[in-house]
């Protein structure tokens, strides 16, 4: 109870600082935050193309600007001026609305992310965060859940089968993976005893949650890739199956908006992961009062951590093949959600024991260790699954063509015969030539 109150007290100061912001400062922060998404999108697109190019042994874009670094700017200028093609069967109102619905929540999400500690902007003390709510974590989640509407409606409004399939996949995907993501976040909330992002970062001063809550972190990482429809979970836009998925029928500016939404969502989930698990704006191994954690430096640490996660996204795309849809659902419902639930119960248990106060960390570790050993021993007692052992070798129908057991491999092959014949004829001609030469000599 006491830590909860103490943290509430601290966050009051953080929230109060934000509440004191004059209007110009709020507007300035809002504009900067609005720009973070699009600017990072531009950087990410060219970065992704270059990095994936390097991973596949090709140069990537290298024409526009030095090392092709201005490629996305050229694309960004080009896209809005392309022709808009609107399908005849499209539901026009929803068709126009969908890209907007996809983009706007994505741009809102960054508002609740703390980018740094207390700083002074033009003499005004403030916190590098647009808004601090007691439940800012939910703001990010709500943004994600509304953003899916954009994709689903785009798929439906296009009035053609492939986009519809993409939209349906996306809906199912996001709903399933939001559950796993929520479970991972609950673990953090239980440990930090708060749903406010600023508090969660400050609660990590004693240790970042990515190693304290490793299972939560892993579940979050997987589900964040699923949530943003990125490879290997990019089933809603699987180009080998669905042409372009939900945005097949979109062109010009509206297509650009979907692009913007996708990359901004990547930025948001990475920023969120940084906040929840990687200590937010804090520098590793130093206390909150170290000069490295004061002033504007933390913004750099924050973006560095985020860049690592974004690189991970690109790395995944360059490495892994796309999941099949049923495998993907199986992973979500049969692995991530149960694992998240079990882990959640464990966390709650540990917290309950901790809050009792009579038990030390050592005791928890010892008892936990004993419990794990017992569980491992119990699993050893489970009889191994019998594999039917028959000597028959599958002749056909094993899924892979296998030659029959009594296959006679001929000693000679047509090729070896031909080779032999060739060698023979060569020898004969050589012999003929030599006899000719010899007879010549005789003469």
């Amino acid at each position: 109870m006491t830590p909860l109150l103490a943290q509430a007290q601290e966050s009051m100061t953080r929230a109060e600082l934000l509440a004191d912001d004059p209007l110009w400062l709020i507007l300035m922060k809002a504009v900067v935050l609005m720009l973070v998404g699009p600017i990072l999108t531009v950087v990410l697109i060219v970065g992704e193309r270059k990095i994936v190019g390097r991973m596949q042994n090709r140069p990537g874009p290298n024409r526009v600007g030095p090392f092709g670094m201005l490629q996305s700017i050229a694309d960004a200028i080009k896209l809005p001026f392309k022709e808009q093609v609107i399908p005849d069967t499209a539901d026009r109102k929803v068709y126009f609305l969908a890209p907007v619905i996809a983009v706007v929540p994505a741009l809102i999400g960054l508002a609740a992310i703390p980018f740094g500690p207390e700083v002074s902007i033009f003499g005004e003390r403030t916190v590098l965060q647009l808004v601090e709510l007691p439940v800012s974590v939910l703001l990010v989640l709500a943004g994600a859940s509304v953003g899916v509407y954009g994709i689903v409606l785009a798929g439906w409004a296009s009035g053609s089968p492939y986009p519809l399939l993409g939209g349906m996949r996306s809906a199912a995907q996001v709903i399933s993976y939001e559950i796993a993501m929520g479970l991972a976040i609950i673990g953090v909330a239980l440990y930090a005893q708060s749903l406010a992002t600023g508090d969660i970062v400050e609660a990590q001063a004693s240790g970042w949650y990515f190693y304290l809550l490793l299972p939560s972190f892993v579940i979050y990482l997987i589900s964040m890739v699923g949530e943003t429809n990125r490879a290997p979970f990019d089933l809603p836009e699987a180009e080998s199956e669905l042409v372009g998925g939900f945005h097949t029928e979109y062109s010009s500016m509206k297509f650009a908006m979907f692009f913007l939404a996708e990359y901004t969502n990547m930025v948001i989930v990475s920023a969120f992961a940084t906040t929840l698990f990687l200590g937010g704006w804090m520098f590793p191994f130093v206390g909150l009062d170290s000069p490295l954690n004061q002033g504007w430096w933390p913004v750099l640490w924050f973006f560095a951590k985020m860049a690592v996660l974004l690189f991970g996204f690109i790395w995944l795309r360059g490495t892994l093949p796309r999941f099949r849809y049923d495998q993907f659902m199986k992973l979500g419902w049969k692995v991530l959600v149960p694992a998240g639930l079990v882990w959640l119960v464990l966390i709650a248990l540990v917290r309950a024991i901790r809050n009792d106060g009579n038990v030390s960390t050592g005791q928890i570790l010892v008892i936990g260790g004993i419990a794990i050993v017992v569980v491992v021993l119990l699993t050893l007692l489970i009889p191994e699954k019998r594999v039917e052992d028959d000597d028959s070798v599958p002749i056909t129908g094993g899924g892979h063509p296998v030659p029959p057991l009594d296959l006679k491999v001929p000693e000679t092959t047509p090729r070896s015969k031909a080779l032999k014949a060739k060698a023979k004829s060569a020898k004969r001609t050589a012999a003929l030539a030599s006899t000719k030469e010899g007879s010549d000599g005789d003469l």
């Binding site: 109102k93 007691p134 703001l139 709500a142 859940s145 689903v152 409606l153 519809l164 939209g167």
Partner: protein
């Protein structure tokens, strides 16, 4: 519970509606009502669902403005994000053109609906009159403290004073989930279960299905790459399965303009011109107008 009651009792005396709250109410309230009306009157089921989403979002906003951010975001995540999304999902599965059937399936449906409708109208009217006459504004909440409506206080109430209703609700939800699973479960190993891919292949060759192979695709010839081109059988006759029903049933008049364009009967712009001649522009404008009229 006692704490929150205390809190409510303390601040209840001189709470008023602030200007900001009033403004946001008069902005969001009409939007919510418009959404509800749109939901009822929209012809298309998906549009209907979208109007309802608008209502739910504005309700969520109202909660946020009234210092209940947890409730507001939960509303957005759970209702807008999950439940309406599932609804949309089902609507899309059913198809966009499906219209309501007007046949009464349940006996006495209209009578029951009328009685219930009148009842709901009465309740609404009562609530409205009460809201307009003798409701004192609630004190502003403080979402930062568990006692003032924060998530912590809510959780404590759920797991202490309201544990039994909470457990009942969860039992209800679990029952519903189990019911859905039981109803949709198909045992693959049962006799009537779903066939595996291999069993399907065998069954197809045994003649249990129409044909062992997939239907032939459209023929693609040197003169045309249209999907309407039929595939030809070895004897040169048209394979009837390769004809697309969709294309066959599209009226020829609708495709006439495109056909003309493809065959080159329409005047082409000069190869060197950047834009078509003015005559073409006028023609195409006219065609567009006709399109719009139709």
């Amino acid at each position: 519970m006692t704490q929150s009651a205390l809190f409510l009792a303390q601040a209840g005396a001189e709470a008023t509606v602030s200007t900001g709250e009033a403004i946001s109410f008069w902005v969001l309230g009409p939007i919510a009502v418009a959404g509800a009306l749109g939901m009822i009157f929209a012809r298309n089921a998906v549009h209907s669902a979208l109007w309802l989403v608008l209502t739910m979002l504005s309700l969520g906003m109202l909660y946020l403005i009234q210092q209940a951010p947890f409730l507001g975001f939960t509303q957005i995540i759970v209702y807008t994000g999950a439940i309406m999304m599932l609804f949309l999902f089902v609507l899309m599965m059913v198809g966009r053109e499906s219209s309501d059937s007007v046949v009464e399936v349940l006996r006495g449906q209209r009578l029951t609906a009328a009685v219930l409708g009148i009842g709901v109208a009465g309740v609404l009217a009562g609530a409205l009159t009460r809201a307009l006459t003798d409701v004192t504004p609630a004190p502003p909440l403080d979402p930062w403290s568990p006692e003032g409506g924060g998530a912590g206080g809510l959780g404590r109430l759920i797991f202490t004073d309201y544990l039994f209703p909470f457990e009942l609700t969860s039992a209800l939800l679990i029952t519903a989930g189990m019911g859905a699973m039981v109803l949709t479960f198909t045992d693959r190993h049962a006799k009537t279960g779903k066939r595996s891919q291999r069993e399907l292949v065998v069954a197809r060759f045994r003649g249990e299905y129409e044909r062992p192979s997939p239907k032939p695709g459209p023929g693609v010839f040197a003169t045309s790459n249209s999907v309407a081109t039929p595939a030809l059988l070895p004897d040169g006759s048209v394979a009837p399965e390769s004809l697309s029903e969709l294309i066959e049933s599209t009226s020829a008049a609708r495709l006439e303009a495109e056909r003309k364009q493809v065959t080159g009967e329409t005047p082409q712009p000069d190869a060197h011109a950047l834009v078509g001649s003015e005559q073409d522009a006028a023609k195409s404008a006219e065609a567009e107008r006709e399109d719009g009229d139709r």
